[in-house]
Symmetry: C2
Subunit: 123 residues, 2 copies
């Protein structure tokens, strides 16, 4: 169940998650940030690899495949977040908040949002 998705593969997953509906390989390619400069071939490689990893499913539609995510974005993101906090902060969230706050300087909106969240949690 622990699907590891590389940076390049994630780009493809994001396209599928954002689409909210099954897409063909060509459609996925259209939606990939043009800055990546990928050819269709590259997108197809990503799709195969993700399918092999079980990160997405495909259904046949005539000669083509319609691809859709096999895992929910929020599950994946939750998983990776835990891994990350574990890896660098011994599983504690507060040092991460501290570090980012110090580096980037959270703006007021951030602070307010997080405070609201925490208030919610306590109630």
């Amino acid at each position: 169940m622990d699907v590891r998705i590389s940076d390049a593969e994630l780009e493809v997953m994001e396209a599928l998650w954002a689409a909210g509906q099954p897409l063909t390989a060509a459609e996925v390619a259209e939606r990939i940030d043009a800055d990546r400069g990928w050819t269709l071939a590259t997108v197809k490689t990503m799709l195969s690899r993700l399918a092999a990893k079980g990160a997405l499913k495909h259904r046949e539609d005539g000669r083509r495949f319609l691809y859709s995510p096999a895992i929910k974005r929020e599950d994946y993101v939750g998983h990776e977040s835990r891994r990350f906090v574990e890896r660098l902060f011994g599983g504690r969230l507060s040092p991460l908040v501290a570090r980012l706050a110090e580096e980037d300087g959270l703006d007021e909106v951030d602070i307010a949002e997080i405070e609201a969240l925490l208030k919610e949690l306590k109630s």
Copy 2:
């Protein structure tokens, strides 16, 4: 300046950061979590690669090297944290806090710590 450190390499860096003083390859090996089950050869490979990447420095001590970090842990961690939040949360910290809160259920200590942090930031 953007040193990428793999999972295995990080293990070695953590040993050096924790030591707080230069170590020989053998000493590093001793301090690596035994669960990894690494041979000395593996540790040496990691040390070479990290040196090649500029993540650590070595000074000669007779026939051996004394290794020490070339980057500060907090700098590395800050870098990776920003990358991570960028990659999965569009750079916003609050959704990350939200996600982890929902999954793990932050305990009261966490919540209190983060609130204290935020209070600090506002003042």
